[in-house]
Amino acid sequence: MSPLTALFGRELSLSWGRGGGPLPALAFYAGVTTMLPLAVGPEPERLASVAPGMAWLALALAALLSLERLFERDFEDGALDLLSLGPVPLELVCAVKCLAQWIAIGLPLALAAPIAALALGAPTALAPLIALCAALGALAFAFAGGMGAALALGSRRGGLLIAVIVLPLFAPPVIFGGGALTAGGGAGLLLLAAWTAAAVALSPLAMAAAVRNALD
C-alpha cells in the first residue's frame, strides 16, 4: 500500500473511526435544526423562509466544530514530525487530511442538509440543489477550515481561535451558496464552485507553511 493511501486510511479512521462515524456530526446537525424553531418560533412562513439559509449556516458551523483537531492533536503528540518526515510533500499531506475530513464529515452532512431544510418547510424542488451546494460548500469549508486549524497550531485556545480565523474565509462561500439557494442555481453556484476550486488548490500551500512554522 502506498504511503499516501496509508495516510488517507489513517485520517479517515481518525475522523470517522470508532467514535460513532459521522453520527455525532449528524446529531449535532439535527440538534441545531431542531433548536432553530425553538429559538425563532414555530410560525411556518417564517421558518420556511429562513430554512435553506439556516441549514446552510448550520453546515458551516458543524464543519467548524469538527475541525478543531485536524492538526492540533498531531502537533501535540509529535505525529506531525512523523508526517512531515514522510516520503510525500507536506502540502499533499495537508490536502489528504482535509479531503478525509470532507469525506468523513462533510459529505454525510451534505446529504443531511436537504432533509433538514425540508423538515423546516423548504420547497421540495430545492432539495437536489441544496445537496449539491452543501457538498461543494463542505469541501470549501474543509480546506479553508484546515488552514485555520494549521494557523492556530501552538496557540492557546485553539477552538475559538480557529473559528475566528476561519469565519472570514467562510463568509464568501456562505454568500455564494445563499445566493445560489435563493436564485435556484445560476451565478451563485458558479461562484461557489470557483471558490471551492480555489480553496482546494491554494490552501494546502498555506497549510504546509503554517505547519512548518509551528514545528520549527
Binding site: A152, R156, A171, A206, A210
Partner: protein
C-alpha cells in the same frame, strides 16, 4: 528604498525624522481638508450630508490601502524573514482595524440620512465587515501564539490568504447590484471641483496620518523588542 530601510539602524534614523514630518504634513492636510469640507456648498441632492463623503470615502480607501500594506509587509517578512517587515506588519494591524471600523461607522452614519437605515446587508457593506473580522482575526492570532517569530509567520500567512477579500470588496458593487454607491454615481458628484479638492486633501491627509502613525508604531515595536532582548541578556548573565 526597501533595501535601504531594511537596515534597522538606518530605519530608526530615517523614521526619527520622517515620522514627525509626515505627522505635521498630515495635520496641515487634514486641517485644510476639513476647512474646505465645511466651506463647500451643499449638494443639490444630498444637502449637507454630502460632507460625510470626505470623512467616509478616504477612511474606506485607507482601510483597503492599509490592508495592502499589511499584505506587502507580511510577504516580505515571510519570504525574506526580515524582522523589520514583521514589526511593520504587527504595527499596521491596529491602525488598519481602526480605519476599517471608521469606514463602517461613518458609512452607517451616512446611511441613516441617505438610505433611511444605519445598515443593510448588501455585498460591499458585508464584505467590509468581513474585512474588520479579518483584522480582528489577525490580531487575535498574533496575540494567541507566544513565540514572537512563530506568531509573526502564522499571522503573515493569514494576512496573505485574507488578501483575497480585497478584490471582492472593491468589485462587489460591480458584481452584485446593490444599494451602495458605485464609482459611476460617485464620479458625477466629484466632477464638480467643489468636492474634488476637499476629497483629495482629506485622502492625502488620511494617508499621511496613517504613514506617520505607522512609523511611530514600528519604532515603538522595535524599541520593545530591543528592551526584551536586553532583559533576557541581563537574566542570562
Amino acid at each position: 528604498m526597501f533595501a535601504f530601510l531594511a537596515n534597522p539602524q538606518r530605519f530608526m534614523a530615517f523614521s526619527k525624522v520622517a515620522a514627525p514630518l509626515i505627522g505635521a504634513t498630515a495635520f496641515l492636510l487634514l486641517a485644510s481638508g476639513l476647512w474646505l469640507t465645511f466651506s463647500a456648498p451643499d449638494d443639490y441632492q444630498q444637502g449637507a450630508t454630502v460632507r460625510m463623503m470626505f470623512i467616509h470615502v478616504p477612511a474606506a480607501w485607507l482601510a483597503l490601502f492599509s490592508y495592502v500594506c499589511l499584505a506587502v509587509a507580511s510577504f516580505l517578512s515571510l519570504v525574506f524573514r526580515h524582522a523589520l517587515a514583521d514589526a511593520a506588519a504587527k504595527a499596521c494591524a491596529p491602525l488598519g482595524a481602526t480605519f476599517t471600523a471608521l469606514a463602517l461607522i461613518t458609512g452607517a452614519l451616512w446611511g441613516q440620512p441617505m438610505w433611511g437605515t444605519w445598515w443593510v446587508w448588501d455585498a460591499r457593506l458585508t464584505s467590509m465587515l468581513v474585512l474588520l473580522l479579518l483584522w480582528l482575526a489577525y490580531i487575535a492570532l498574533r496575540s494567541a501564539i507566544d513565540d514572537e517569530t512563530k506568531a509573526g509567520r502564522a499571522a503573515a500567512i493569514l494576512a496573505l490568504v485574507g488578501a483575497i477579500n480585497l478584490p471582492i470588496i472593491h468589485y462587489s458593487v460591480v458584481w452584485w447590484n446593490t444599494l451602495h454607491e458605485g464609482s459611476s454615481s460617485f464620479m458625477k458628484n466629484t466632477g464638480s471641483s467643489h468636492y474634488l479638492a476637499p476629497l483629495a486633501l482629506m485622502a492625502l491627509g488620511y494617508t499621511a496620518a496613517f504613514g506617520s502613525l505607522w512609523l511611530v508604531r514600528i519604532r515603538a515595536e522595535l524599541y520593545r523588542r530591543r528592551a526584551s532582548l536586553l532583559a533576557l541578556r541581563a537574566a542570562e548573565a
